[in-house]
């Protein structure tokens, strides 16, 4: 038995790297191990990929990617995402300043609200995707990908004169699932009352937290930023709730794939534009007047003339998953594109994938062929997401 592919490979974290750099750990490292986590390298961190849950938690969910995934869709899951980069960007004109690096409307973002946006480059490629929250008119809270935080923070420091404070001693937890709001109502009614993409400074178990109503699963849920020293106490307070069990990165990946959400490094990179990625909605209405952000003109041209390729959902026939980097060919045998994320969707109960195909092959219902281990697997272009989003509106 030899591992052919593993989802962590896409993110500079080859398990069999002959000279691995020492891994960073999150503030919950020991907590994960105590709860039966199997730890794997991911983006330079030791992270739980799945749990062999024990005691009371095992009675709620037996653990493993499949059970953890289904538990999150049915109840609520707790994810440690402390590997992600958190930073505060402050200054009197901070929103205007950030708009020079992202296509989103940050000036128009109301205090107490958060928005998904992108750092783009002059060629129209994506440097990273991130969350920006406006805590006050002069104060933005940023959450960026673990694998890109060094690049992102250097990019901000180089291009903006605003004060960037990287929050090293913070943990980030995500509580996700249809019962997340019920759980949150017991811990912080203020946070439970947030609208989708709202953010509030509140207390959970006496600890100052920054809670937003957001996530990466397609479910309702919250992301909770807390001081590292309090991470275990908050994680304990959350798993003491009968709806909640800890969930690993394996299920995080299958949940986001079913939700049609992009993973930087797989589905987005510096050679992929937001238009190709189907993220045109990220460009603020006001920003489309001037296109005055990195790569704006390239994106306008792509919108006018159509991008050469598009990100689409793909359902392989049968049961065999088609993983990232699988070649896609058209029915006439010509080259069609590449799968960028693929696996098995536990809620879909079948193989699912996302990838980029030639624009003439991007329509829903288009039949394609996938080349998996030398064999041809027929597949169909389908709308994303695979499982409907259930965000609170």
């Amino acid at each position: 038995m030899a591992l052919l592919t593993e989802f962590c490979v896409a993110q500079n974290a080859l398990p069999d790297d002959p000279t691995p750099a020492p891994l960073h750990t999150t503030p919950l490292d020991q907590w994960h191990r105590k709860h039966g986590a199997r730890m794997v390298p991911f983006a330079g961190y030791a992270m739980p990929v799945q749990y062999d849950l024990k005691g009371d938690l095992a009675a709620r969910c037996k653990g493993g990617v499949m059970a953890e995934h289904l538990h999150t869709r049915a109840h609520a899951g707790l994810f440690d995402v402390s590997h992600m980069g958190q930073a505060m960007l402050t200054g009197p004109n901070v929103a205007m300043a950030l708009e020079t690096l992202v296509p989103g409307d940050i000036i128009g973002l109301k205090p107490g609200r958060q928005r998904y946006t992108l750092f783009t480059n002059p060629a129209g490629g994506i440097i990273d995707d991130l969350m920006v929250a406006k805590l006050a008119d002069d104060r933005l809270f940023l959450v960026v990908n673990a694998s890109r935080k060094d690049v992102d923070f250097a990019h901000l420091a180089e291009n903006l004169s605003e004060t960037l404070t990287v929050m090293e001693n913070r943990a980030l937890l995500a509580l996700q699932g249809p019962e997340a709001a019920t759980v949150m109502a017991r811990l912080s009614p203020e946070a439970a009352a947030l609208p989708f993409m709202g953010i509030v400074a509140t207390k959970i178990a006496g600890v100052d937290c920054l809670v937003s109503r957001s996530g990466y699963t397609g479910e309702d849920g919250f992301e909770i930023s807390i001081p590292a020293a309090e991470a275990e106490a908050i994680a304990d307070a959350l798993i003491q709730q009968p709806e909640v069990v800890p969930i690993g990165l394996g299920a995080r990946d299958s949940l986001r794939l079913e939700a049609g959400l992009c993973l930087y490094g797989n589905d987005l990179d510096e050679l992929t534009s937001p238009i190709e990625a189907g993220l045109t909605w990220v460009i603020g209405k006001r920003r489309k007047m001037n296109w005055d952000f990195p790569g704006g003109m390239v994106m306008r041209d792509q919108l006018d003339n159509g991008p050469v390729r598009r990100r689409v959902g793909i359902r392989p026939d049968g049961r065999a998953p088609a993983r990232g980097q699988t070649t896609i060919v058209a029915e006439d045998g010509t080259e069609a594109g590449l799968i960028t994320s693929g696996g098995f969707g536990p809620s879909v109960n079948g193989p699912i994938a996302m990838g980029y195909v030639r624009k003439d092959l991007a329509a829903d219902g288009t039949r394609l062929n996938l080349i998996v281990r030398g064999k041809t697997i027929p597949a169909t272009v389908v709308p994303l997401p695979f499982t409907p989003h259930r965000y609170i509106r």
Binding site: M1, L4, E6, F7, V49, V65, D253, F344
Partner: protein
């Protein structure tokens, strides 16, 4: 008698049982645990001749795909289609109902050269 006295193992985490010159092959309980929930199994074609160490089946879990190698040289004479219909059988009974295929061995004597349970357990300790 020692546990699984009639079973042999490979470093690639396959198990083999011999009946005459017919070897039944599967993946070990350790392997299924490492792989996690299996969602798909691809078995070799009947009559296929394989050499020792040749990749001849694939298992896919939610998060990964893995090759299964022929532990010994021979010809595929039977495959367990029950596990292609329900791969979770491999998770629940890897070293029993979850067998993969049967090989008619070229040389049944090489079976004894594989690791026994004690040697395999010792090998697992080194991983």
């Amino acid at each position: 008698m020692a546990k699984n006295a009639d079973k042999r193992f490979t470093k690639e985490h396959e198990w083999v049982m011999l009946d005459g010159d017919i070897a039944t092959v599967g993946i070990t309980d350790h392997a299924q645990e490492q792989l996690g929930d299996l969602v798909h199994v691809e078995l070799p074609e009947l009559e296929r001749a394989v050499v020792e160490g040749e990749s001849c089946a694939v298992v896919e879990s939610v998060k990964a795909a893995s090759d299964i190698y022929a532990p010994l040289a021979g010809k595929v004479v039977e495959i367990n289609e029950t596990i292609t219909e329900d791969p979770s059988i491999v998770n629940s009974d890897a070293e029993g109902e979850g067998w993969f295929f049967r090989l008619e061995l070229e040389d049944p004597d090489v079976f004894e050269a594989l690791m026994d349970q004690d040697a395999y357990d010792e090998y697992l300790e080194t991983l």
